[in-house]
Symmetry: C2
Subunit: 227 residues, 2 copies
């Protein structure tokens, strides 16, 4: 499904250049659940942003379902993001002027499912135990509640590619387990390809493979025989 | 040092009322290191915000060093926050128009230490391994790097009361260990009173006591004999 070949991302900073990614090589099969680990600053968010069409590499190739997405113009990238990708951002990116329910409805409406929009949105909020926070605005939600709305929103369109940037960083063990179960179900039942960035060591066992980044490139890949 | 007596915090939401805190009783001794745990939405951030003078309870009393801070006017609360409290926010609250170094310098300048401001700021960034990100703006930093600037900033004035809301939520195990060591040092060497909210189970052993919240009040308190 995905091939990243010698991908680079640099930021010129005066005399210095920051290499967020350098010579990153990674192939991911359709339906795989990959956990992406690595120290703070090693390039995990940058990798997800490039795969999700939110950022472009400064070098290398990124091929998704046979198409080189780094070469898409803005219109095609937007279509790619809306139809193919579900994204749980490290800092949620909820729409502050919409309630929890409206944030999920909005995501659903982007792929045009008119009828049962409200019913499906309520189901998604129930999946992350937020049915009684439906009418709260993001500023009226706890950190972990905002994170869960972001997860419900990402799952809404049953995306072919689910990208999760620290989806349990603000959740207690029990709530985290619930969320990871929902992500795993999407992978197992719908065949979604999932890339999960997490510092939570207990997440690694659920992966098909664990990819470790270091200083902007792949340092190590481990396979889990029975995830 | 701190006494919270039957503290309540309610938010009227149309017909329903949300009880973020209800009848919360908690006493914390000077120099204690307390870890505050509990499910997402149980009132941890609300508790820290009230102790840090960022929010007021709707019921009960909050006494810090003999003074009822919930009765302070805005000027006294601002002075309390600046001189007594160091705060690591769940979502950092960095000043977006200042670099990492400037964010730390700004915190130092609030307590008027003119000379060696830059040197001390650089030391604090080095403490969290960010010396070569000094000139990056928050938008040019990774999630964990932003979190570390927030930590450096909170430690800057060696506060008497350090309040940390999920300080390692975006950090890998190794970086988290480094940060927790710095927090522990402030507690052991400077005698700072520390209240640490965390979902990270490995943090509990470093506490003198572990306080568990549930639905806005204290459910359980455990003492660690030898933290
Ligand atoms: N402004 C507000 N209006 C209405 N409800 C609110 C508001 N702020 C917080 N709440 C509610 O109060 C409860 C406690 O919030 P708080 O942020 O203290 O939880 P928390 O323990 O920090 O959770 P987390 O672990 O998810 O960060 C939550 O259920 C939240 O929905
Ligand atoms: N706009 C930018 N300008 C300059 N440097 C940047 C910019 N964005 C990111 N960086 C740098 O690129 C590196 C990789 O960032 P990235 O956000 O991908 O890390 P990460 O692995 O997600 O880290 P974390 O675990 O802390 O979230 C970091 O060292 C960061 O400082
Ligand atoms: Mg990141
Ligand atoms: Mg919170």
């Amino acid at each position: 499904l995905i091939a990243m070949q010698s991908v680079g991302k640099t930021y010129p900073m005066g005399d210095l250049t920051v290499h967020a990614l350098r010579g990153l090589d990674l192939t991911i099969a359709r339906g795989e659940l990959v956990v992406l680990l690595g120290p703070s600053g090693s390039g995990k968010t940058t990798t997800l942003n490039i795969l999700g069409g939110l950022d472009r590499p400064t070098g290398g190739r990124v091929v998704v379902e046979g198409e080189e997405i780094a070469r898409f113009d803005e219109r095609r990238l937007t279509a790619y993001r809306r139809t193919k990708v579900g994204f749980v951002f490290q800092f949620f990116n909820l729409i502050p002027t919409l309630t929890a329910l409206e944030n999920v409805e909005f995501a659903l409406s982007l792929t045009g499912r008119g009828s049962s929009l409200i019913r499906r949105s309520r189901e998604l909020l129930a999946l992350v135990s937020l049915e009684d926070r439906a009418d709260h605005f993001p500023s009226q939600l706890s950190g972990g509640e905002q994170q869960r709305v972001a997860i419900a929103r990402a799952l809404a369109n049953r995306p072919a590619l689910l990208l999760c940037d620290e989806p349990t960083g603000n959740l207690d063990v029990e709530t985290a387990r619930q969320v990871l179960q929902a992500i795993r179900d999407l992978n197992r039942r719908e065949g979604a390809t999932v890339i999960l960035v997490s510092h939570n060591a207990s997440i690694a066992p659920m992966a098909d493979r664990v990819v470790r980044l270091h200083d902007g490139s792949v340092a190590k890949i481990e396979s889990n025989p029975h995830p």
